[in-house]
């Protein structure tokens, strides 16, 4: 349930350069549950029909035609506040946590005259952190998750 990228075999998947279709993995848990359910409901029909069903139901993420941004709550605010200065590609090629995106906003405010986003900041951050979050496990090895302990030798 960590990732849904295996459910989109009919999209071009570029593991290394961050192709735009990777955004499809950013679907919420609800869609994953939905897909699981589809699998269950077809559990007597065999693997092939399940896979077809998954491919049919995955085409939910839509991209804005002019910017390539994921169409979702907040996109209008992002376009209105961010695209004055820079290309949407600066967003679509980037991945960060909410804290990371907030840092970029603060930096643009400090160095590049970005205005105070006011009440819209929360919505914009939510949009960015949801649809342009860091992707776990991309590449050929993932980071080790470590709980440090004192090793007595």
């Amino acid at each position: 349930m960590r990732k849904t990228q295996d459910l989109i075999p009919d999209y071009p998947i570029d593991l290394f350069s961050g192709g735009i279709y990777k955004h499809a993995i950013l679907l919420g848990i609800g869609l994953v549950l939905f897909l699981l359910t589809q699998g269950c409901q077809n559990s007597h029909d065999g693997q092939a029909s399940r896979d077809e069903q998954m491919q049919d139901t995955i085409r939910v993420v839509q991209y804005d035609e002019t910017t390539g941004l994921v169409v979702a709550d907040g996109i209008q605010l992002v376009k209105a506040n961010c695209m004055n200065c820079h290309s949407p590609k600066l967003i679509t090629q980037s991945r960060a946590t909410k804290e990371g995106w907030e840092g970029m906003i603060r930096w643009m405010q400090a160095k590049h005259r970005l205005w105070d986003l006011g009440e819209h900041e929360a919505t914009i951050l939510e949009y960015l952190a949801t649809h342009y979050a860091p992707e776990e496990g991309v590449g050929r090895r993932r980071q080790l998750e470590v709980e440090w302990y004192d090793l007595e030798l």
Binding site: M1, R2, K3, Q5, D6, I8, P9, D10, I13, L15, G28, I29, G30, L31, L33, F34, L36, T37, Q38, G39, C40, Q41, S43, H44, Q47, R50, D51, G137, V138, G139, R140, R141, R142, L144, V146, E147, W148, Y149, D150, L151, L153
Partner: protein, 428 residues
Amino acid sequence: MDNMDIDLGTPSDDKSDKLRSNMQGRRSFLKASGSTILGAPMVFAMNFPTGLLPIGLVAEPAQQDIPGKDARLTVLNDRPINMETPPHLLDDRLTPGNLFFVRNNGIPPEVITGDVESTWKLTIGGEAAEQEMAFTLTDLKSTFTHHTYQLTLECGGNGRSEFNPPAKGNQWSTGAVGCASFTGVRLKDVLYHVGLKSSAIYIGYYGADKHLNGSDDTVISRGVPLDKALEDESLIAWAMNGQDLPPLNGYPLRLVFGGWPASCSGKWLTKIIIRDQVHDGPKMTGQSYRVPCDPVAPGSTVADEDMCIIQSMPVKSLITYPKTGGVISLEDTLPIRGHAWAGDLAVEIVDVSIDFGQTWQPCRLEKPANRLAWQHFKTSLSFPQKGYYEVWARATDSEDKSQPMILPGWNPRGYLNNACHRIAIKVT
């Protein structure tokens, strides 16, 4: 490994309305209270399969309740039970029964409490057998010579969790492997006793486990080519490390084929059939325990006819001491221990690296106790300066193949990940 093959509880046509009304009740519950408990609306609650609870509502599995197994094992799935062993718990030269991983496809049979020796029957038959014969455990033990071998069993999907795009099924990390001392009779002695027709090319097994959907459907029925079946180390085993097999590992009788996907080594063994064709039982066909015959790009869809059955497992190793995450001092010398194995082959070399594979240091490597047993390695490391390190282990087999440092070839079901094992060490 074929987790999506299981019936998650969707009512089939012949089930009663009771189940449906239960489902309605659960959905109402999910709609009414699930959101509150989860702290967020549960999207698609109406589609949530019956028989499951949202992850947010599931308590920690009561691992103490899994008979014969150490509570420190990682439970990946509790219906059917699938549990793996963290690497530092595999430090024993032979894996104790309570630490040995469990990969179940169905519900194990009730443990027989009566006179299992005379009541458990193994039938040998099939179209390429000269005759059909049945043996009690007493018959097997009294008719054939006993043999004991240390044999490595590894799930074909061990390491699946690292594949990307991810593969469905139990997300094994590194712990679906163990090596134990198995005692039984040679499969070949039994097969020759029954008689093989000249048409014999494969064997298939059947076990007493039950399908999750409650039907009499066969859960899993895999097998091996006759050549593998006739090897000295291929056993019909009743003991592991000198004791009865653990209930979850096949008590009272199982097959053991060291070095091949452990799904070949049928548990709760009741029947072996000698085939004049490649065995075609459940999980022999389609995409189960198969990889693309020719390498494919990550994320590819591969037709069934282009998938080939996995046979010998690839070379692999595990660092079993220390546990990952150790913090040591710059003046310390760090001992390293582990095991390495290579399917049907032997391991020739194990190296470790502390600089992300730029330089490698050879380990002392023991010869295997017997063919198909894992081999123990050790070395000690000192570190040039303070900081974060990863210790990587890389084994090389007798045909000069080494473990890759990145993931090996992607395959649709996520089998055969033998990328080198890594632990983290901090030097202060």
